[in-house]
Amino acid sequence: MTQRFLILEDGSSYPGEGFGAGATTTGELVFNTSMLGYQEIVTNQIYHNQIIVFSQPTIGSIGITHDSYESILPTAKGMVVRDVSDISKNRQRSLSLDQFLKQHNIPGISGIDTRHLIRQIQKNGTMKGSIVDVDDDHAFDQLHATVLTNQQVAQVATPVPYPNPNSGYNVVVVDFGLKHGILRQLSRRKCNVTVLPWNTDAQSIISLDPDGVILSTGPGSPLDLPESVLEMIRTIQERIPLFAIGLGHELFALANGAEVTALPVAHHGASHPIRKIITNEIIYALEGQEFVVDGESVDRDRLITTYRDLIDSSIQGLRHRDYPAFSVQFFPDGAPGPNDSVDLFDEFIEIMGTREELHG
């Protein structure tokens, strides 16, 4: 074990022990309060450019398992944990977290008072940080000088189309940096999926004649994506059932005239109750967001609010008044997190079914 440091923009430095890759890394510090699923979390592309602080203090205890990847090539910038175990689960003879991070050049640091860090972020807002070998002035200069890209989607989304064949409905997934949970759920429902790059235009999608279109999760700000994406959404929603998740939801809201603003502190976790407005049910789901749809800006003649977070009152779901198009801010596929809302995928399938009855 080697001593390394987590240094922050505010000038603070925390000594800890390095694990994973030995690289120096810089990213935005975000925290996640999930109690399980470190592998799903670190492989989720929404953490591109980010260093993830885990509130769960014991990380690595089940190693890396084959069914817990949310992307094949994770691009998170680092993991900050209280305690890490270098264990590969004997039942699968697979990698340990340490080995996995080394393979993907992601550094980790353990022995950090993560609870303190989370309280700091809550108090002072999001900060940049670096995992470094030496916490000298040079390191801080580098940290301050680092400008993180705002082209995250382009970095992580697939540049070329690829299929995920099956025998059911034809579904196009527009990839903004999708988590595999979405594909897993569609696959379970036998959807014949085509994944398309984020910047595919509407005509190209329509020409594939899909039964439904999904706008995927992804990293970064929806405001950094070009207007053409919003045009694509406006065209598609009029013609094809649409389901948008995470970043997709934010884009769907923008495309329909709502505004999206940055949260003072990003929210990642599954402990918030969410009200499903139409039935008044309360569910839990993994939330992972840095942006939020501004409730005031939602044009009630165009959009209906369908889900709301009961803790911070944030909008968690929208539906178009005129078209079978709907979106959720949270991740209904869990991975990691509750399955309470996984039947949104069934709803999507059933909407495609209705359309088929009517038009086909």
């Binding site: 139409i278 039935t279 178009h320 008044r321 079978p324 069934d346 709803e347 909407i351 209705t354 009855e357």
Partner: protein, 178 residues
Amino acid sequence: MAKVVVDAMAMQRALTRITYEIIERNKGIDDLIILGIKTRGIYLAQRIASRLKQLENATVPVGELDVSKYRDDIEHDSQENDPKVTVAKIDFPITDKKVILVDDVLYTGRTIRAAMSAIMDLGRPQQINLAVLVDRGHRELPIRADFVGKNIPSSQSERIKVSVSEIDGQDSVEIIDR
């Protein structure tokens, strides 16, 4: 042998979807009224109305139509005689309204026709739309549902049993071999 083809979750989803489709198709809920056909259609009508209330924070009137001639526990929409519909409870005007007629199962279409006549006797609605939880086919009249929870192609020897938690203790649709 009974086979569950729609479970509680799926029934919830179907009603949710129908509710959204009603909003989509009617551009909102202005002038909307919902009429449920006794017995289970009424509960479904009430559920749709409560969903609309949740979403739009406005109350949509719900009325009841009674198919008087048949027992509750068998399908009223059978091929035999034309059913007779009486108005059980509609204490609001329907002229110029958009009527959503709600029933649990759409079969021959005779019940729906009778229901529509009963409605027309009461006033002159702007339009009548039909929402059903199950469309099982075998239509004998040119009637088509505008909102369908689930299409269940069935043989005439089968019975479709819809249960709603309000009176049956559970939400489900089952196919029963006669």
